[in-house]
């Protein structure tokens, strides 16, 4: 996914001279295209995430679009106050891109896991939070993010993401995409873990359960309409994310349901537990270890449907 993001960024930057890429010495093998093509709009600050974010904000204050880019929680939590006070308070046109959302960098360990970012970034005023699930969505989301004026957190995957969308879709920030139709229950996911959801939905379908599958690619602003429609039409909602249970997609969906008085449905959140993920393993192994891979999702679908 990082490849498609960088390729798309390059295409957009060819047409939009406002776009600057500001790095903190991360991006090997991916950012060189931009650096070669637009050296005058490319800054590698060195390992300085706070400065990277401040510089990006300064560039944006002067009418540019600045992209900060790094891995895991480096471009978000290390420089959170710069994002809050500089980027968000000034509504600066800065796009914060992290590569390797969730536990993409599984065996690299806790320092390289990005598992609280959705919760934290969505709490910031003016911030839009986008979590694309596959390459098609990542490409479309990139265009949308650069069309939008203002701060965006783009939580990118890493590599080898599988296709989830198998039918054409229109991408709009804040408008969820229904990947699979169904009226027995709804599974709302964000990010590449949606592929696990899709496998589970297919397996459940073979057992006669038709689960609606929704990609909630924009966590903020969230698509209330899609959530409430799913609640009304299916009466059962499961959320799925590669993120701490606290404050992420599941919480955002629960907030909508609670705020709208939609409390008479069955609801379950699937996410990483509130722990530091210290077990050593690949992304997929960790998903399985923490029961957010396809077999457990299928179980949850069957369970919520009383099967």
């Amino acid at each position: 996914m990082r490849k498609i993001f960088n390729e798309t960024l390059l295409k957009i930057a060819e047409k939009d001279p406002r776009i600057h890429l500001v790095l903190a010495d991360i991006g090997y093998g991916e950012i060189e295209g931009f650096a070669r093509k637009f050296p005058e709009r490319y800054y590698n600050c060195g390992v300085m995430e706070q400065h990277m974010t401040g510089v990006a904000c300064g560039l944006a204050m002067e009418g540019n679009i600045a992209v900060t880019y790094s891995i895991a929680n480096f471009p978000t939590l290390r420089c959170l106050e710069q994002i809050r006070n500089d980027v968000c308070y000034h509504n600066a046109n800065v796009k914060i891109v992290n590569i390797g959302g969730g536990v993409s960098y599984g065996p690299l360990g806790v320092s390289h896991h990005s598992t609280e970012d959705i919760a934290i970034l969505r709490a910031l005023p003016n911030m839009v939070v986008v979590v694309p699930c596959d390459l098609q969505e990542a490409e479309a989301a990139t265009y949308a993010v650069f069309d939008y004026e203002g701060p965006v957190f783009y939580r990118c995957g890493y590599k080898n993401e599988k296709d989830i969308h198998h039918r054409p879709f229109k991408f709009e920030l804040g408008k969820a995409i229904t990947v699979e139709d169904g009226d027995d229950c709804t599974l709302i996911f964000c990010g590449p873990i949606g592929f696990e959801a899709q496998k589970a939905v297919e397996a459940a379908r073979e057992k006669g359960i038709h689960c609606r599958l929704i990609s909630m690619h924009t966590i903020k602003p969230i698509d209330k309409e899609a959530i409430l429609k799913a609640a009304k039409e299916t009466g059962k909602i499961i959320t799925l994310e590669e993120h701490n249970l606290a404050g992420g997609l599941g919480s955002a969906v629960a907030e909508v349901l609670a705020d709208e008085g939609c409390l008479d449905i069955k609801f379950r959140r699937m996410a990483l537990p509130d722990v530091n993920v210290h077990e050593v393993g690949s992304q997929q192994w960790l998903r399985e270890f923490y029961h957010i891979a396809a077999p457990d999702i299928e179980k949850a679908i069957l369970d919520i449907c009383g099967k």
Partner: protein, 271 residues
């Protein structure tokens, strides 16, 4: 000219005292130490801004990184006509017009700060943008001792030298007192100019209360072609009010009516 600076600095100091008294708020020491520099920077036309066109693209950018001293900028901007003087009566008050830490919601304020270690990084971004486009305006950053404790500030020192940002001017209001005490006892910056010079900056140490020294320095910017400028302005916290001068307490002091009037008397200004 120097009489003009003196008068302007006196009015800025008076307005700062008025505001912190109205708001029953702190940071007066940090405002008073910067007042003379503000008088020269704005009164001398070194920071080129136009209240009739506050967002003019060719304006100089001035960011107060020591945002707690925001009132010293408010006092200066209202002198220039950016907003009505009556706004100062609402400083720090409910539904007031002027926030304690400097806010870009106030006309003429370029940028909001308050948490230290933010201003210089953003100035660097602005300086890069201007350099790219060949724009001639300057980017000024006024900082404090405490501001220069922050690691992010040193990140900016490193980067600006590397990128030869000669349109960037950082001025440290070096009053040598920070929140809990004297800087030398907390995090001694020592020979600060020399330290920053090793990062590739052109540096100069000045008397931050000497109008002639300040004017001559600002006239000679950039100090050196191809280098960002770093000015260490030796100042006195609370300058101009004897009971505040060079005290840690002046960072938090809430003035009583009597103390405000006493300060006015020392400055030689009327209520």
């Amino acid at each position: 000219m120097y009489e003009n600076y003196k008068d302007l600095a006196k009015r800025i100091r008076k307005d700062c005292l008025h505001m912190v008294h109205v708001g029953q708020s702190g940071h007066i020491g940090s405002m008073l130490s910067a007042a003379d520099m503000m008088a020269v920077l704005y009164g001398g036309g070194f920071v080129k801004v136009d209240p009739k066109n506050p967002k003019a693209p060719d304006r100089d950018r001035f960011i107060l990184s020591k945002g707690h001293a925001g009132a010293v900028v408010y006092a200066t901007l209202t002198e220039l006509g950016f907003f009505p003087k009556e706004w100062m009566d609402t400083y720090y008050c409910d539904n007031g017009k002027l926030m304690g830490h400097i806010s870009h919601y106030v006309p003429g304020v370029e940028y909001s700060t308050g948490s230290l270690g933010h201003g210089l990084n953003v100035c660097v971004g602005m300086a890069l943008a201007a350099k790219e486009k060949g724009e001639k305006h300057k980017i000024y950053c006024m900082m404090s001792d405490g501001d220069c404790n922050e690691g992010s500030t040193w990140e900016a020192f490193l980067f600006a030298g590397q990128h030869h940002l000669e349109n960037l001017i950082a001025i440290v209001d070096y009053n040598r007192i920070q929140a809990l005490g004297f800087s030398k006892d907390i995090c001694d910056l020592g020979d600060f100019a020399s330290k920053v010079a090793t990062f590739g900056w052109a540096t100069k140490t000045v008397d931050g209360h000497d109008f002639m020294d300040l004017e001559n320095t600002f006239k000679s910017l950039p100090l050196e072609a191809g280098k960002p400028t770093f000015i260490v302005a030796n100042t006195i916290k609370g300058k101009g009010v004897s009971f505040l001068e060079n005290t840690v307490a002046s960072h938090y002091w809430h003035l009583t009516e009597e103390q405000k009037l006493e300060a006015y008397r020392e400055l030689g200004v009327e209520e």
